[in-house]
Amino acid sequence: MMAAKKRNDPSALTREEEKELVIRAATDQEAFGELYSVNVRKIYSYIYYRVGNHHNAQDLTARVFHRALKNIHKYEDRGIPFSAWLYRIAHNLVANFHRDQNRRQTVSYDSITIPGYNNHPERETIEHEEREILLEAVQTLPPERQELLILKFINHLSNAEIGEIMGRTEGAVKSLYHRTLVSLRKEMIRLDVNLGKKLEDK
C-alpha cells in the first residue's frame, strides 16, 4: 500500500532522475530547487509532527534545506533515497531544538484536522473519538517511537529508510515497530477505559 502511494505521487522522481538531479545540484541551484520542490512537503510534515506547531516547523524546515544546500557537494549516494539524507538532517535539527528548548518531546497536535465521513454522523462521531484517543496515545509514546510512526505512516518510508534516518538496522526498526504497536494498543485501552469512567460518573 505504501509503495503504491509512492508510485502514484506525481512529484516523485525515479531513482535515476533523482541521482542525476543530486549530481547537478552540487553546481546548479535550479537542480537543487527541483529536489526541494519534491521533498519540502514531506520534510515539513515530519517536522510538524515532531514539534507540534507551524511556526517552529517552518523555521526548522528552512534550516534543513539551507543546510542541505550548503553540504550538497559532500553528499554520497549509498543506494538510499536522497530524502533519507534530508530526514536525517531534520532529525538532528529537531533533536537539537528539543534539547535547546529543554523540555520533553511531548507535543500537542491541536491544529490537525481529523478526517471524517459525512454520510453517517453517528459512525463519524465514533471514529472521530477513536482517532482522538489514538492521537492522545501517540503523544504519550517516547520520542523515538513517535518518530517511527511518523516516518512510517505520514512519510510512508520503508523500514530500511527509517533505519538509515534513526541510525538503526532494518531488523531493529521492525522490532521497535511491533513493540510500539503493543504499547499503543495498551495505551488506547487505558485511555478508553478512563473516558468510559468519566462518562459513567456524569
Binding site: M1, Q29, E30, F32, G33, Y36, S37, V40, R41, K42, Y44, S45, Y48, Y49, H54, A57, Q58, T61, A62, F65, H66, L69, I112, I114, P115, E130, R131, L134, L135, V138, L149, I150, F153, I154, L181, L184, R185, M188, I189, D192, V193, G196
Partner: protein, 106 residues
Amino acid sequence: MARSRFNKALSTKDLEALLSSTLVPVEPSDVFINKLRGSLVKVHGRKPFSLWTGLAVGASAVLIVAMALGILLRFLLAGLGFINLLIQRRSYRKPSRQPSEGPVSL
C-alpha cells in the same frame, strides 16, 4: 480487564488502518514554500555581484579616489601659489623697502 472497545476489536491490521487514517500529512502554506525556494535560489544561485564584478568596482573606486585626490592636490597647489603671489606683491609695495645698492664706483 476493564471494559474497552479496543480490548478485542483492535487487531494489528485495524490499528495500522486507524494510524493510516489518523496520521495525515500536514501541508505547509504555498507562501512559505515559495518564499523558502526564493531564499535558497537567491542566496546561492543569483549573486548580485560576482568576483570579477567586485574587482572591477573596486578598481574603479580606487581610480576615482585617486583622480579626486589629484584634483584636490591641484587645487591645493593653486591655492598655495595664489597665497604666495599675494605675499610677494605685498613685499614689493612696502615703502621702507631700501633700493638695492648698485655697484660701488671707485
